[in-house]
Amino acid sequence: MQPNVRIDIEGLRHTGVGLPVDDIVVAGSPGMHVDNASQLGDAGHVWAGASSTDPVADAKFADPWDKVLVPGLAPGIWALETAADSTHGDAPTSAGFGGNNWVAGTGGHTSYWEPDSQSLKNQARVSAGVYDEVTLHSGTAPGNLR
């Protein structure tokens, strides 16, 4: 099950009209251009997950020596990528961002919708409003929709 509606969060934020959604779910996000989840609305309905091996979600926090340890990627390009990602602000899975940090249980940046994965199950549970079924690293799930 995948969410069938995708919204350009960044574009909507700039309109100043708020987000007409019940929940915000991000996977492998390097940042959402805000300092904490409450700036997006009810922090209890902001859900962020990331694989522990996803370089995109972790880009802002890459150390200098990481740049020379990526096979096939020139250090200069990696540095530019890291600099670009740092403009997104803190990753929503960072400690202190707030909201709910759901368990992905997948690898890399391209497996968040892998069938039968913990990632996909958790996103489906949020979409269905069955929040207490979501497995969390941190955060507090709100009451279920029904």
């Binding site: 069938p115 039968d116 069955v130 207490d132």
Partner: protein, 155 residues
């Protein structure tokens, strides 16, 4: 065997492993119809344990990546999704308890087992032959059942 002969042997073995992984030969051959029947059989067993008929059945193929990273357009898995209404006079946890006991007796590997309020729960397991099973009760009125087959190659 001298070290000078071990190295070429090891290199040959590694090459053979890589060829096997890329060709998909390590994924068993089975038709979609046969795999769907196996998924249905797993769901039927769960329905008997829970104590109600399967409702809203939905089965179909999806892409699948094998345990060794095998992937091609011929490698697939079958997913089955169903609902079951909670039997009269019971709570979802009653059905989940019977499922848990059966799966433990079968030697399945329980991968998730949580109680949720009120009287709800989730239980998931992997079978020795590679099926992934999930029984969860998003509401006290019933269950969502998911069955995933392992990867197979179409004949």
């Amino acid at each position: 065997m001298t070290p000078t002969r071990v190295l070429p042997l090891a290199a040959t073995a590694a090459t053979l492993l890589i060829i096997t992984a890329c060709s998909g030969e390590s994924v068993d051959v089975k038709s979609e119809a046969d795999t769907t029947a196996l998924v249905q059989a797993q769901a039927d067993t769960i329905a008997k344990l829970v104590g109600g008929p399967l409702e809203n059945p939905s089965t179909g193929p999806m892409p699948c990546t094998g345990k060794r990273g095998e992937s091609s357009s011929d490698i697939y898995s079958i997913q089955g999704a169903y609902n079951i209404t909670t039997p009269a006079g019971e709570t979802p946890r009653d059905g989940i308890a019977r499922v848990r006991a059966d799966w433990q007796a079968q030697g399945y590997t329980i991968t998730d087992d949580r109680d949720l309020e009120p009287n709800r729960g989730i239980i998931e397991a992997n079978t020795p032959d590679g099926f992934s099973l999930s029984v969860e009760s998003p509401a006290t009125e019933g269950f969502a059942i998911f069955v995933f087959s392992p990867c197979f190659t179409r004949p």
